[in-house]
């Protein structure tokens, strides 16, 4: 298994830098419907899920099956209609939006299918955002950004705006941004969906090395069979219900 071929030791963060303690996530009888009330079919139904710290979890399913919804709940972007989400054993139900934001800021990193870089910020500045949010000192932050850029092989791109980058480059930036603040959990929602195959592979490797590889929990929604083979657990979501598929087992 070749991990982050371009990245060197410089880019590999050591344990010392892992500021966040390992965090487990659990869903208890979670249901979700949009809109929250009314006679609409639920997107998610009665889901129970335990994700221990350091897990590598892949979620598969058809479009509209509820993958993204599940990820949003796990990433504290949304609150469930029913049941509870526990982050590090704490229910999010009682949290205010500001507390939720603090959880996101500290413990979670996001990678989106369409990158979602801030178009008006340069690559470097995009990477600085989570660091500044977490109150990093500017020198330390600069150092961190420097190492991230090196790790993602984006050093010559640091002053560029997102629109000036290729899709693969943008996603690399997005991944670096997602882990810049050393979150305990990295959530990626179809991170390769907009990319060609070779680029997708590169991105996956980057995710694995910086996500799971450093002891983080990596949760990824994907269609890629290749990924399923590498994950510790594969969950299939269908009609709002969750089926657990073992990592070794074949995908139906």
């Amino acid at each position: 298994m070749s991990r982050a071929p371009e990245s060197t030791v410089v880019g590999r963060p050591d344990a010392r830098r892992l500021s966040a303690s390992p965090i487990s996530l659990s869903l208890r009888q979670v249901g979700m419907r949009y809109p929250a009330a009314g006679d609409v079919p639920a997107v998610l139904r009665d889901i129970n899920l335990e994700i221990p710290a350091g897990d590598y979890l892949v979620i598969v399913g058809r479009s509209g099956s509820g993958k993204s919804t599940l990820l949003n709940l796990l990433g504290c972007l949304d609150q469930p209609s029913q049941g509870e989400v526990l982050v590090g054993g704490q229910s999010t139900r009682a949290m205010t939006e500001t507390e939720l934001a603090a959880v996101r800021r500290r413990d979670i990193g996001f990678v989106f299918q369409s990158f979602n870089l801030i178009p008006t910020l340069t690559v470097r500045e995009n990477l600085l955002v989570p660091l500044q949010l977490n109150g990093a000192e500017s020198e330390a932050a600069a150092e961190r950004v420097f190492s991230l850029l090196a790790a993602a092989d984006l050093k010559d791109r640091e002053a560029r705006f997102p629109e000036e980058l290729s899709g693969g480059e943008q996603q690399r930036v997005a991944i670096m941004r997602a882990i810049a603040h050393e979150p305990a959990v990295l959530i990626a929602d179809e991170p390769t969906g907009n990319l060609d195959l070779p680029t997708a592979r590169l991105i996956l490797e980057l995710l694995e090395s910086f996500g799971h590889g450093q002891g983080r929990t990596l949760i990824m929604a994907t269609h890629s069979r290749e990924v399923m083979g590498r994950a510790q657990r594969v969950l299939q979501i269908s009609e709002g219900r969750l089926l657990e598929v073992t990592a070794a087992g074949p995908v139906p």
Partner: protein, 837 residues
């Protein structure tokens, strides 16, 4: 679906649903059009109604009068009518005494009292309007002191009826008794009284305002020459109307131009809202195109939409304009009354052609403003979606050509403004300057925001600055509208401020005497030869240093519009101020064949120092040479000044209007008391202080510019709407970005502050940019427009507090306007916004 299958009405449906889903967008577009149209309608209607009021008061009780005898600025002697009838055999003649008074029930507004002789008015067919068939109030009018008839409008407005008493505001508790109502439902506002009553109430016994005549050509010829010998003028009624027209022309054009300025500001708002709605739907248009819609169809779609929206806006604007106009008309009338001549009646009416015109202008401006965005929409390539980055890049590329266009426009405007002497063209020039500024505004804001972002080390600031810059492809038109509105707000304000300062300064030296004394019956004073005694008595009062004397009358040049001022300046006095040293001015005044002319006079007659001016004296035409021009804001109709002694010698007019009393330092109060004593003893003097007069003049000045302040207010309103518009655009754009920020862990407060910083930056950016534009506009209004329109020159003073008010307005408007959208963006779950991908 093939190209042919794309149903046009479906396109339109899609367009209209867009607006229905975005009622804010709909509201802003309609409001922009409505505001512009309302302003045009209001000011137009006010100007029109004031014209009608003049027309009505010219016609009212004049019937078929063909001529009038009058003396602008002066009255006619009491016995003139009898002489006209008996000596010249002119039966069809009717006298009028007019004046304004204030009623206790309506202390803030004056009303006209028209005094007629009913029997005389009937001779020129002019009493038709006054007496209903069978009405028997005629005898009451004549015999009952203080009896008046009221017009229908007065009855309605004041809620009074026959039998009621109207107490006068000033004048020792005197009151008028309403003995009837003038028939008819027209909107004119006046009180009608017998001529004797009017003379008594207005304290004008012995004076007539004018005599209306119905003359044959022969009679007119005979009378003209006869009256000339008495220093009186016979003028055709049509000429009187023409004179009103000539006097108020500049004023009216100015008003109209200001209303068009308001429309221009409104049009920018329309432009910004329509642009925004188009930019926002580029993807939709691209989709239409990929489905086979032709460019023409997309263009038609956008234009049809705007016609529908314009219809709503125009309708609202017309209504609002009528309401606003009815409020403005009395303002306009009062201003015209203050500046030129007062109407005898107040009037408000709605003119259909005027409304039609305003509607057309509204549609035209809307379509014009929407044209560019519509073409943009039609140009959308048939691709399903476009990256905004592409748009941004395109915007950046366009910045260069925009600036070029702006510079070209500005140059053209400069050339126009430099060379025109035509008021309308001057305003066209100012409009061009504004458009140039508007074209340049988005790129300039963009540059400055980028600069700010680059200079800032604080990430949130550079982020906010950059998003403002980045969003300009969408917010640009709104930013331009905001900038123009703020520039108008501060530019017009600066102009008024400078003007006021100039007038104040002028008042301080033109009202140089400390106490002013006016004979109430200067005719009698002149006839009795007591003038010398009076002057001697005044001079003898302790504390009196010197006296100045003056006499005002219509300039005898056959036009009767300008004023002739004969003065005997005091040695201590500073009058008249001129660019020349005082001594030289005084010397030239003393020279028998020299006169001074006011700036407006020089400008209007196109004369300068050294030119000849011919005046009609009782002994025939006489040439004078112009010794100098002087600053005078008392009238834009022109003033010619000559030495009093010379005037008396040439014109045989021994009357005096004002005696200025110069007092020793600190003695004004004691002198005033003594002069008042003297006036009490004599009973034929009125005494005021120049301090009071100065106050009064400034009051009149402020009243004159009330309507302009209304325009400023509208500009302010447009500014706020434009900011709301811009921020909506921005907020909408950054919906996903905000969700991302929140996914990254930004707290609601942080997101809110970022949004507010953007709002503030956007507003402030446009506001700061509006500073030079506003100053330039004020400068142009002062140096070009005022000179052309009125011939006044004035100092140009930049009131930085006022300028910063403009910036503040934009900034605060930005903050306030961002309040709701910023908070709304938080209400949405970031998950939803992200899903909208």
């Amino acid at each position: 679906m093939t190209a042919a299958a794309v149903n046009r009405s479906l396109l339109l449906l899609a367009g209209l649903r867009f607006y229905l889903r975005h009622p804010g967008q709909l509201g802003l577009t309609v409001a922009g059009i409505a505001l512009g149209v309302a302003t045009v309608v209001a000011i137009d209607l006010a100007a029109y109604s004031s014209g009608q009021a003049f027309e009505a008061s010219t016609r009212l009780f004049r019937g078929q009068a063909t001529h009038e005898i009058s003396r602008p600025g002066d009255s006619l002697p009491d016995d003139l009518l009898a002489r006209v009838r008996r000596d010249y055999g002119i039966a069809m003649s009717a006298p009028t005494v007019e004046g304004r008074l204030r009623l206790a029930v309506e202390p803030r507004r004056s009303i006209s009292l028209i005094g007629i002789d009913p029997l005389s008015a009937a001779r020129v067919g002019g009493a038709t309007a006054a007496f209903a068939p069978g009405a028997s109030n005629f005898a009451g009018l004549m015999t009952q002191p203080g009896a008046v008839l009221i017009s229908a409008a007065v009855a309605q407005e004041l809620g009074v009826e026959t039998g009621d008493e109207l107490k006068l505001l000033d004048g020792g508790g005197e009151s008028l008794s309403i003995i009837g109502q003038v028939p008819g439902e027209s909107g004119e506002r006046y009180l009608l009284a017998d001529i004797a009553t009017a003379q008594e109430i207005l304290q004008r016994t012995g004076q007539l305002t004018r005599i209306d005549l119905r003359l044959t050509a022969d009679q007119a010829g005979l009378l003209t020459s006869q009256l000339r010998q008495e220093g009186l003028q016979l003028r055709p009624v049509a000429a009187t109307l023409g004179q009103v027209d000539a006097m108020t022309r500049s004023f009216r054009i100015n008003l109209q131009a200001l209303s068009l300025l308001a429309l221009l500001v409104g049009a920018f708002l329309v432009f910004s809202t329509v642009s925004f709605s188009v930019v926002r739907r580029r993807e939709m248009f691209g989709l239409f195109r990929s489905l086979g819609a032709r460019r023409r169809e997309v263009l038609q779609l956008v234009l049809t939409e705007i016609v529908v929206l314009a219809a709503a806006g125009v309708a609202l604007g017309l209504l609002g304009g009528i309401v606003l106009g009815s409020g403005l008309v009395s303002l306009v009338l009062r201003t015209i009354g203050d500046l030129y001549l007062s109407t005898s009646v107040d009037y408000f009416g709605v003119s259909l052609p005027l409304l039609l015109k305003a509607a057309l202008i509204g549609f035209g401006a809307s379509l014009g403003a929407a044209a560019w965005p519509a073409i943009e929409a039609a140009r959308a390539p048939p691709r399903r979606a476009m990256l905004r980055a592409y748009l941004e890049r395109q915007g950046r590329q366009a910045a260069g050509s925009r600036l070029l266009l702006s510079v070209a426009l500005a140059c053209a405007a400069a050339v126009l403004l430099l060379f025109t002497r035509e008021l309308r063209l001057a305003f066209v020039g100012i409009f061009m300057v504004l458009i140039a500024a508007a074209v340049a505004a988005p790129p300039l804001v963009q540059f400055s925001m980028r600069g700010l972002a680059a200079a800032s080390t604080w990430l949130p600031l550079s982020y906010a600055a950059r998003s403002v810059a980045a969003n300009l492809s969408r917010t640009g038109p709104a930013v331009a509208a905001l900038m123009i509105a703020v520039a108008t707000f501060s530019g017009v304000g600066l102009m008024i401020g400078s003007f006021r300062l100039s007038v104040d300064e002028w008042l301080s030296y033109s009202l140089d005497a400390d106490v002013l004394v006016r004979p109430t019956d200067s005719r009698a004073l002149a006839a009795s030869g007591e003038e010398a005694d009076l002057l001697a008595e005044l001079r003898r009062l302790p504390g009196v240093m010197d006296l100045s004397l003056s006499r005002r009358r219509a300039l005898p040049d056959g036009q009767g519009i300008a004023t002739l001022l004969a003065v005997q300046p005091a040695v201590q006095g500073r009058w008249p101020q001129s660019e020349q040293p005082r001594a030289r001015v005084l010397a030239s005044l003393a020279r028998p064949d020299q006169v001074l002319v006011s700036e407006p006079f020089a400008r209007k007659r196109d004369v300068a120092e050294g030119d000849a001016l011919s005046l009609l004296t009782p002994a025939g035409e006489r040439e004078f040479s112009i010794a100098a021009t002087f600053v005078d804001y008392s009238t834009d109709l022109g003033l010619v000044a000559m030495e009093l002694g010379r005037y008396r010698q040439l014109f045989g007019d021994q009357q005096l209007d004002t005696i200025g009393v110069f007092t020793a330092t600190g003695q004004t109060a004691t002198v005033l008391a003594q002069v008042e004593d003297l006036a009490d003893r004599r009973g034929d003097l009125r005494v005021t202080t120049s301090a009071f007069l100065r106050q009064l003049s400034l009051l009149v000045f402020d009243r004159t510019f009330t309507i302009t302040q209304v325009l400023r207010l509208i500009a302010g309103l447009v500014a706020v709407i434009a900011v709301i518009n811009a921020l909506q655009a921005q907020r909408l754009d950054s919906r996903r970005e905000i969700a991302t920020l929140r996914a990254l862990g930004f707290s609601p407060g942080q997101v809110l502050r970022l949004g507010e910083m953007q709002s503030l930056l956007l507003g402030t950016g446009a506001g700061v940019l509006a500073v030079p534009v506003g100053i330039l506009m004020a400068w142009l209004l002062i140096v070009v427009v005022n000179r052309i329109a009125f011939g006044w020159s004035m100092v140009f003073v930049i009131d930085w507090w006022l300028v910063s008010q403009g910036v503040l307005l934009a900034a605060v408007a930005g903050l306030l306007a961002g309040w709701l959208p910023n908070r709304r963006s938080l209400r949405e779950s970031p998950a939803v916004a992200l899903r909208a991908d």
